[in-house]
C-alpha cells in the first residue's frame, strides 16, 4: 500500500501535479479505452507464450465464434464500466459491478457441469447483499455547496523590487461547483470552468487580478444566497 501511495505521489511530484479537484485531468472514456485496448493487444501475445497457451488462427468455428462474441461483450462491458466508474464514487460503483457474481452462478448452473454448493451460494448471497447495503445507504444529494479555488496572477511578487511577478502571469485555475438542491425543479447544476490566460503585460495582469478578485467576491455572495435558498427549501 505504501509502495502504491509513494509511486503515485512520486509521479505527481515529477509531473508537478496533485490528486485533487484542482488537478486538471480530463480524458474521455474512449481515450482511456483506446489505451487499454493497445495494452491488451500488445501484451496478450507474450502472455500467451508465458502461459504456454496455443497461438494459432486454426481454432475451429465454434471456438472462433466464442472468442469473437466474448471479445465484443467484454469490450462493451469495459466501455460501460469505464463511463460508470468515472461518474460514480468508487465504492458504490465497484459494488454494483459485483452483479457479476450473481450472474456467474446463474451461468454456472445453466451451462457448466460444476455444481453450486450451499456455502458458495451463501457466499454469493452475502456478496450481493453488500451491494444493496451500499445502494440503500447511498448519500443523498448535498444541499447548495460552492467551492472556489482560484490562483490569481500577481499574488506572487518579485523579491528584488517587490513588483508583481510578470514572468509567469497565469490565471491558472478557476473552478466553480454548484449543487443546487432546489425544491421546485431539483435541478443539479454543475459548472466546472477552467480558464487559462497568459499575458506578458503588467497592466493586463493587474487588470485580471482585479477581475478575478471581484469575481470571487460575487461568488461568495452567491454562496450565501444559495445557503439561504437551501434553508428556505428545507423548511418550506
Amino acid at each position: 500500500m505504501s509502495f502504491l501511495y509513494n509511486s503515485v505521489h512520486a509521479t505527481q511530484r515529477r509531473c508537478n501535479c496533485s490528486i485533487s479537484d484542482s488537478c486538471i485531468i480530463f480524458l474521455t472514456y474512449a481515450q482511456v479505452c483506446v489505451s487499454q485496448s493497445l495494452a491488451q493487444i500488445f501484451l496478450s501475445i507474450p502472455g500467451a507464450y508465458i502461459a504456454n497457451q496455443p497461438w494459432t488462427l486454426n481454432v475451429g468455428l465454434y471456438n472462433a465464434v466464442l472468442i469473437f462474441t466474448g471479445g465484443f461483450i467484454g469490450c462493451f462491458s469495459q466501455i460501460a464500466m469505464t463511463i460508470g466508474m468515472q461518474r460514480e464514487k468508487s465504492a458504490a460503483a465497484t459494488a454494483m459491478r459485483m452483479s457479476d457474481v450473481f450472474f456467474g452462478y446463474i451461468w454456472q448452473i445453466l451451462f457448466t457441469a460444476d455444481a453450486a454448493s450451499g456455502t458458495s451460494i451463501l457466499g454469493a448471497i452475502l456478496v450481493i447483499s453488500s451491494i444493496f447495503v451500499i445502494i440503500l445507504f447511498k448519500p443523498k444529494d448535498q444541499p447548495a455547496k460552492l467551492n472556489v479555488d482560484a490562483k490569481v496572477a500577481g499574488d506572487t511578487v518579485n523579491p528584488i523590487d517587490n513588483s508583481p511577478n510578470v514572468e509567469d502571469v497565469e490565471i491558472e485555475l478557476f473552478t466553480i461547483n454548484i449543487d443546487d438542491d432546489d425544491k421546485e425543479n431539483k435541478n443539479t447544476a454543475n459548472i466546472d470552468t477552467n480558464m487559462k490566460h497568459e499575458s506578458n503585460s503588467m497592466s493586463s495582469m493587474l487588470q485580471w487580478n482585479q477581475i478575478i478578485r471581484s469575481k470571487i467576491k460575487n461568488i461568495l455572495k452567491r454562496e450565501e444566497k444559495y445557503d439561504e435558498l437551501a434553508q428556505e427549501s428545507r423548511h418550506g
Binding site: 503515485v8 508537478n16 493487444i41 467484454g74 462491458s77 460508470g84 459491478r97 457474481v101 443539479t188 480558464m195
Partner: protein, 205 residues
C-alpha cells in the same frame, strides 16, 4: 433521478457483460481450448476499433480543442499507462483463474477488488470510508471466504489453490485499475464552448 443512477446502471450492465465473458472463457476451456489470451486479444481489437471511432467522431477533438489522445501531461500519460497495463493484468489473471475454478467461484473471488479499491481509495484518493461501505466490504469478504472454502476452515472441500491465487491477484490488479480510472476521471469534463462562454463573461466585467 435518472442521471443519479445511470452510472450505477452502466456498471451493473458491465457486470452482466463480464459474467457472460467469463462464461465464454469457461466454455472454451470445457471445449479443450485454453484461449484466455486469444479472448483478451479479441477484446482488445474490438475495443480499439469501437473506441477509436468514438475518439474520431468527438467534435471537440475534430475541432482541435480537446486533449490529445494519450493526455497532455506526463502525469496523465503515466496514469493511463499504469491503468492499461494493470487492467490487462486484471483481465488475464481473471481468465486464467476461470479456467481452473467454477464460473461463480471465479467471479466471486475476482469481485474482492472493491475491497482493495476502497482501501486504496482511502489512502490515494482520500475518499471517505463510511460505515455502510465498511459493513459491505466485511460482508463481501465473508462471502468470498465461503466461496473459496479454504482447507483450514472447510477441510478437503477447498477450491483449486492455484485458481484462487490467480483470482486474488486479478482482484488486486483490478482494484488498482479502478483507482487509476478514478484518478483519470477526477475532474469533470467541460465543453470548450462553455469555457469560452465563461471567459467572455469575465472579460466583459
Amino acid at each position: 433521478m435518472y442521471h443519479r443512477y445511470l452510472p450505477l446502471f452502466l456498471v451493473f450492465l458491465s457486470g452482466l457483460g463480464f459474467s457472460i465473458q467469463t462464461l465464454v472463457v469457461k466454455l472454451l476451456s470445457m471445449n479443450g481450448y485454453e484461449g484466455s489470451f486469444s479472448l483478451v486479444l479479441s477484446r482488445g481489437i474490438c475495443q480499439l476499433v469501437i473506441c477509436s471511432w468514438l475518439v474520431y467522431i468527438d467534435e471537440e477533438r475534430r475541432a482541435g480543442k480537446g486533449p490529445s489522445l494519450f493526455g497532455d501531461t506526463n502525469y496523465v500519460r503515466w496514469m493511463l499507462f499504469l491503468r492499461s497495463v494493470i487492467g490487462f493484468g486484471g483481465i488475464a489473471f481473471s481468465f486464467l483463474a476461470t479456467e481452473k475454478l467454477a464460473v461463480g467461484d471465479s467471479s466471486t473471488l475476482t469481485m474482492m477488488s472493491p475491497i482493495f479499491a476502497a482501501i486504496m481509495g482511502i489512502f490515494i484518493l482520500h475518499e471517505p470510508w463510511r460505515l455502510p461501505e465498511f459493513f459491505a466490504s466485511i460482508m463481501a469478504l465473508a462471502g468470498a471466504v465461503l466461496v473459496a472454502k479454504p482447507s483450514f476452515l472447510f477441510g478437503g472441500a477447498a477450491a483449486d489453490e492455484v485458481g484462487v491465487i490467480l483470482a486474488l491477484i486479478s482482484a488486486i490488479t483490478a482494484g488498482i485499475a479502478f483507482i487509476c480510472i478514478r484518478i483519470l476521471g477526477t475532474s469533470a469534463k467541460m465543453p470548450y464552448a462553455n469555457v469560452r462562454h465563461q471567459q467572455k463573461h469575465v472579460i466583459s466585467l
